[in-house]
Symmetry: C2
């Protein structure tokens, strides 16, 4: 059967696949934050012609259905079909985040004063050809020369099985490739004049997967790809995934899902740059502890059960074939080390990217992704905790939530007189959803304009058509046009307040533990998908960020991928990551009663103890 | 189609297979020193019923053909067929060699005063269960406990992927299995009360493959299996095999052939003792350098080309899955280290079995297998050489040659008056061929009785019907009966004399190199398939063994398997093998002109310089 895309290509397919799957197999990615299980309602396409069996229309409106709109993940072609893909359904590749800019990353690497030293080391060697007087074996000859350089390696079967021919094909002059961390000889290569090697930095987020294809010789990021983590279809957060993993075959499914995502990202990128995937020779993965366990197929069950124990925090350098990544089979794969069950390599990457562990000043690092992890410390100590914020700032669990990509409402202003909103949209396109920074803006503006009260309750006594009864109770209409409506529901608002409360409570707990006060924090680094766009003042008003002068905040974007990049490029950075991981003291919040108290107090806008937010107090009193 | 064996089982098969192959697939092994290519004429079966396409009758006589006799490897059933297998065509499993007796081997091991320490080490551990206060990862917990014992391992993916479940299933009390030489963690096991582990000692000879199944807990040899090396079909000696290996796909074929032989030996043995092959957990292989290269699939081409360089002499401990041996996939496989291209691990094993490297006395070790390697030395030094004797003493290249198994003529007496022979046969059965000791006897007796002259030429002026014109010139009829004849041809005799000359010339060269004389040799250790049966006096008369008092000779049997056994049982023995390999100085004979002179002089019975054989000189002068 054929699936034809209007003004696009024609795809042949077989079997009972839905449109989302058919497109994905052909490297056309639709937005689908639920991973394709029909619940997020974002993978909309319009059927122009041909028989399609629709299993569910989800939340599509009558008007949309009449236009032929279907959810791709719920629609199965039963013959030749022609579809149109609205621009807003296309997943935008490329994260619009500060640190992703090549120059920034490379400058960061340079600032560490480190040499380029990727996972595969190469040394040019020339061995004396054997003779009757010097007739030791090929392996001994190689070892003898390496011993003189103080190098002593392990030789896997794959290396020795090609040794004698490689040496002679290269006439005893060659590059020896080896992997330092695992001390393993990899291969013998012709000595090249103009070397060109490629590697991958991979951030495995609970919600998104990001891949950077990097030129290992000059540190250039050649291209960037990102997609939703397909594990989303098995659950929004790490806990539901762990539960799923412990069911029969679940672990394998979850593993396969994320490995497929990575492979699906690599192939088209490599192809478009004329790079043979077999020539990609090293990988660094960074992610939270559960994601790394799932990526390697390690049982995550004990992460969830008290006393919350992962199989490992530090992982040996294994190979691409062990991981199932379809590049050079023996490519080393380095996992940025984790700290504990709920503080992973993504946070170690974050500290590495901020350099807070190298400075005297007291700094706070907050990674506001699906979980919400925080680090406090300086060059002498680092203290960390995780605060279960949930995935809402990445679009999860929010009716029209989405990541900070094209089509996302990133900022909102609401007139206190008319209650009418004004929005800006990433990419200046028609809005299709709202991202984390938009949510913070919206909740804060709704609070300041009196649409919601201090507990986040939508007031039903305000005269505006923007406030209305929706399917899930009261909701506020942020945008309507082109038959599309974007709302923030009462449930959404409660989710957002719970998330911000968890984050703030975590900061409070950690500060109390180390005996510092808020004002002593000299720098606040904020990482997370919404990155660039967050409005600090508003986040303070909402009570998510501590009430500190705006100039102390720095937005770092996706620091997990930044750390992966650093580790991909330099052995020193890998050492540094290990040092950071071992420096960090982990505090388990979930077992502390005091955390629940802090959390409850923070379920207010901005906080039950307004004294903790002096600038907000002043502002609010000025308004009244 | 079915193949029915008279008074035996019925085998179903499909495809165009010959009877030899069908039987082999069903674990019925026929004698076939040529490996099944139709040239040795030993795999005789009698077709009782059914259509068989015979491609060649080889050297079968008219009478044999009339009885329905065919060569199994040349005969293809074309429907249901019934055959009878003569007892003498069955390959006898079990080598009748001195050192194969369990007690001898175990005594030898004990004499080294070493502890049992197989390739997999086990330590019983008990870890404190994790708690909120001690919440390091499983891997760190294990490492912490191992560090306290001074053990620091590598953790392969296969180990860590099962770690968290294994620890908990065993309630934190378990045996840790690891491999010392490769420093690799292997698995976590329940702590067993009565341990029972099995391993394999394997001797890969050019002509034969021998496997010992060993109980690793008490050193008991549970069973023994042996077969011809199927590589025989690609050539009798290492040189023709190397040539074959360098042809397209040849290396893979040769590798598969020997690995299949080993697997075919393991399966029925394990089955008959109720041992799960998956439970066989370690392997030691011993063999000459070419055999080990072929076993591991390493290109042997450069072994043959001056300056004769192997890929490696010492091999890392790889795994059963790398080798293709169908036992526990991650079972460590240790290769007894080699010395040079033509002195392999079989010779290192030999020295280990003789203990000559631990004594003050000057000793000579001779391994008379397919090649013929010698070692001279004592505790302070070891000198070694290979002398290309060819496979004749193992039955190769001799018309009716065979290994020293049931049915082999092992000794011959010839009346100087009547020229009539008297023979003894291994197993007291009908003779089906002649083995190495029988050949030495026969040639010596033919010389002493005047049937051949000093150059080995059969005299045509002697009046006996035993000497006659055969297909290949003159031959001597050693046995006839039951329609079967066993002869020694002129070509056979020349082959035997060339072999003994090569061996003797090698000994002479090595002695000259180190500046010793024959009489200074205090002990001569003789290893090789013919083992027990050789008659020293006669071998001296023939000029194969040096003219020394009989009491200085010791017969060691298959010392290659003995060394493999020792290394299988003990880490000290593996260290010792490595020490021996590094102690040995290799002398390349083939490039020395003097060797050719020595060889030419030794092509005489006993030698052109009769002064080197004073006892023979005296004996001959007494006869005249």
């Amino acid at each position: 059967m054929n699936l034809t895309i209007l003004e696009g290509k024609r795809i042949s397919f077989e079997g009972n696949l839905n449109i989302y799957e058919i497109l994905k197999k052909n490297r056309i990615f639709l937005t689908a934050s639920c991973g394709g299980k029909g619940s997020c309602g974002k993978c909309r396409v319009i059927v122009k012609d041909g028989p399609v069996r629709v299993e569910s229309h989800g939340k599509l409106t009558k008007a949309e259905k009449e236009k032929g709109m279907v959810l791709a993940c719920q629609s199965y072609p039963e013959g030749d079909v022609t579809i149109e893909i609205p621009i807003e359904s296309m997943l935008t590749v490329g994260d619009k985040i500060a640190i992703s800019r090549t120059r920034d990353l490379f400058e960061l690497l340079k600032s560490y004063k480190t040499e380029l030293s990727p996972l595969i080391s190469r040394i040019t060697m020339e061995l004396p050809a054997p003779s009757l007087d010097d007739n030791i074996s090929d392996l001994e000859r190689l070892k003898r020369a390496l011993n003189e350089r103080g190098i002593n390696l392990d030789y896997p079967y794959s290396f020795i099985s090609r040794l004698s021919d490689s040496l002679r094909e290269n006439n005893w002059r060659f590059n020896l490739c080896y992997q330092k961390e695992s001390n393993r000889a990899i291969s013998i290569e012709p000595p090249v004049e103009k070397p060109c090697y490629h590697g991958l930095a991979v951030d495995i987020g609970t919600t998104t997967v990001v891949v950077y294809l990097v030129d290992l010789c000059d540190g250039r990021v050649i291209d960037v790809g990102s997609t939703y983590n397909s594990q989303m279809r098995y659950g929004d957060d790490v806990i539901t995934r762990i539960v799923y993993a412990t069911e029969g075959g679940g672990l394998r499914e979850l593993r396969q899902a994320v490995v497929n995502d990575i492979n699906d990202l690599i192939m088209p990128i490599a192809e478009s740059h004329g790079i043979d995937p077999e020539g990609i020779e090293s990988v660094v993965v960074s992610g939270n502890t559960t994601m790394i366990h799932l990526f390697w197929g390690l049982n995550p069950a004990y992460i969830r059960e008290e006393p919350y124990i992962p199989t490992a925090n530090s992982f040996p350098v294994w190979q691409a074939r062990d991981a199932g990544i379809r590049i050079r089979r023996d490519a080393p794969v380095y996992s940025v080390p984790c700290v504990a069950s709920y503080v992973g390599g993504d946070i170690v990457s974050g500290v590495l990217a901020t350099k807070m562990h190298t400075r005297d000043e007291l700094a706070l690092f907050m990674d506001i992704g699906t979980n919400g992890e925080i680090v406090i410390g300086n060059r002498d100590w680092l203290m960390t905790a995780a605060c279960s914020a949930g995935p809402c700032f990445e679009g999860g669990g929010i009716k029209h939530g989405m990541r900070a990509t094209n089509g996302a409402i990133e900022s909102v202003r609401i007139s206190p007189e008319t209650y009418e909103p004004e929005v800006t949209v990433i990419g200046d396109t028609v809005p299709i959803g709202i991202c984390g920074s938009g949510m913070i803006d919206a909740v804060t503006e709704m609070f300041l304009s009196g649409i919601i009260d201090q507990k986040g309750k939508i007031r039903d006594d305000i005269k505006t058509e923007r406030i209305r009864e929706g399917e899930e109770g009261l909701e506020y209409l942020i945008y309507s046009g082109d038959g599309r409506e974007i709302v923030l529901t009462q449930v959404d608002i409660e989710n957002i307040i719970r998330a911000k409360a968890a984050i703030y409570a975590g900061v409070s707990m950690l500060l109390k533990e180390v005996g510092f006060t808020l004002e002593m924090i000299e720098k606040v680094y904020i990482a997370g998908g919404f990155g660039n766009y967050i409005n600090v003042e508003r986040a303070i008003v909402m009570g998510m960020l501590p009430d500190l002068p705006v100039e102390r905040f720095r937005f770092m974007g996706n620091t997990s991928i930044a750390g992966a990049y650093l580790c991909l490029m330099s052995e020193d950075m890998r050492r540094e990551a290990e040092r950071i991981a071992s420096m960090m003291t982990y505090m388990e919040l979930s077992t502390k009663g005091a955390f629940m108290d802090e959390f409850m107090s923070a379920l207010f806008l901005p906080h039950t103890e307004i004294e903790q937010f002096p600038s907000v107090k002043e502002m609010l009193s000025g308004m009244r």
